[in-house]
């Protein structure tokens, strides 16, 4: 195998698919396989094994209470509140400013989280950032992402958290995902669609029902790179 990008090709593929690389090593390896066909093929081959490995676990009885609890939670989380679509109309953004221009505002509102997550064609990636006002975690598996937040403030009646996705330096587009947080400030929501390498996931506080363009500075900024 020939050296590439400072590493020996193939050296890390097995450890990567087993989840045994440290986060920084995994990030570096993702960057490597984006450019290396041989390693990408090796990862794909090994992933056939790791996808089958769960079957090697001895069967375990599922506690009956687990099913009951999951379904109770599902019934208490109507899809309409988890993935509700905002009005599809597109209007000229009234209050959108480039992210950089929000610098002062971000500090003023005490932005809770700014995190960056590497995205690759394979594998998964998770980053969690803790801050005094809360924490957020963006889990990416393949092109799909979940945003999990903790300790965000509950909003008063008539207000909601709204998720946006921004591509490059374009304006943030409404995802239609509106959510509230639990008494403990927690929520987990899927990011609609597939994220690309230049996406940024934003969360702002908006009037109930959502808005077609952000009217406040983001409280979460999750950049995908």
């Amino acid at each position: 195998m020939s050296p590439a990008n400072g590493r020996t090709c193939g050296e890390d593929a097995a450890a990567y698919v087993l989840g045994a690389l440290a986060p920084d090593e995994a990030d570096a390896f993702r960057r490597h396989i984006a450019e290396c066909d041989a390693c990408r093929e090796e990862v794909a081959a090994y992933e056939q094994i790791t996808h089958a490995l769960p079957a090697a676990s001895p069967e375990q009885p599922v506690p009956r209470d687990l099913r009951r609890r999951v379904l109770k939670e599902v019934r208490a989380t109507p899809k309409a509140t988890a993935t509700r679509r905002a009005p599809a109309r597109v209007t000229a953004p009234r209050s959108w400013r480039p992210l950089a221009a929000w610098g002062g505002a971000l500090a003023a509102v005490g932005v809770v989280v700014i995190l960056a997550v590497a995205l690759s064609s394979g594998g998964s990636s998770t980053r969690t950032i803790e801050a005094s006002a809360g924490s957020a975690e963006l889990r990416i598996t393949g092109g799909h992402a979940d945003l999990i937040v903790h300790r965000l403030p509950q909003l008063p009646a008539g207000r909601t958290y709204q998720m946006w996705v921004q591509r490059g330096n374009g304006r943030p587009l409404p995802t239609g995902t509106l959510f509230s947080v639990s008494a403990g400030g927690a929520a987990a929501v899927g990011v609609p669609g597939t994220l690309s390498g230049d996406s940024t996931v934003l969360v702002t506080q908006e009037p109930a029902g959502g808005t077609p363009a952000p009217t406040s500075a983001p409280v979460i900024v999750a950049r995908v790179s």
Binding site: A20, A52, P54, P63, R64, R67, L71, T141, H144, G190
Partner: protein, 197 residues
Amino acid sequence: MRFLRRPVDLRALADEELMELVDGGEVRAFEVIFDRHASAGYALAYRMCGRRALAEDIVQEAFLSLWRSGTNYDRARGSVRSWVLSAVHNRAVDALRRAGAKAGRDVSDEGIAERLRAPEATDVEVERREEARQIRGALDELPPDQRQVIELAYFGGLTHSQIADVLDLPPGTVKGRMRLGLTKMRSALGEAEKVAL
């Protein structure tokens, strides 16, 4: 989205069809998905964590994520089952790496555990059991030093550096054993597939 005007046996639908209904908020479709895959997810989580309470939390979180995400689960990268198991694995690794965070949470609930049998004893179930037998066989056939590093990494959530520390080996040796082991498993499972054909 489909509108169900009369009772439909949802258990006859494929996972992908069920996920369309799940995306439309159909709880009964989600129940079928849960019944099909919760057992595998729980078995994986329990093997990785060794604690029932934590395994339950992980499975619950994974399935709720599927409910909230709907059809945004990554179809291109595999089946619903793969998505669920991948979600369980990622969450279990996160939990294992949050050292000590869950200490003392487990309670023995052996007495109330109850096997939730899949409502359909289908060819799919038979096929899954055969797949499980083959993957366990391939793992068992590995030399112990290769099996050990694979199990510590995948089921134990340890990084190669941590495994190197535990086993007092150079990190390169650990990675080499992982590679050899996975290559042998791939070869063994490829042979098993040929025999099955």
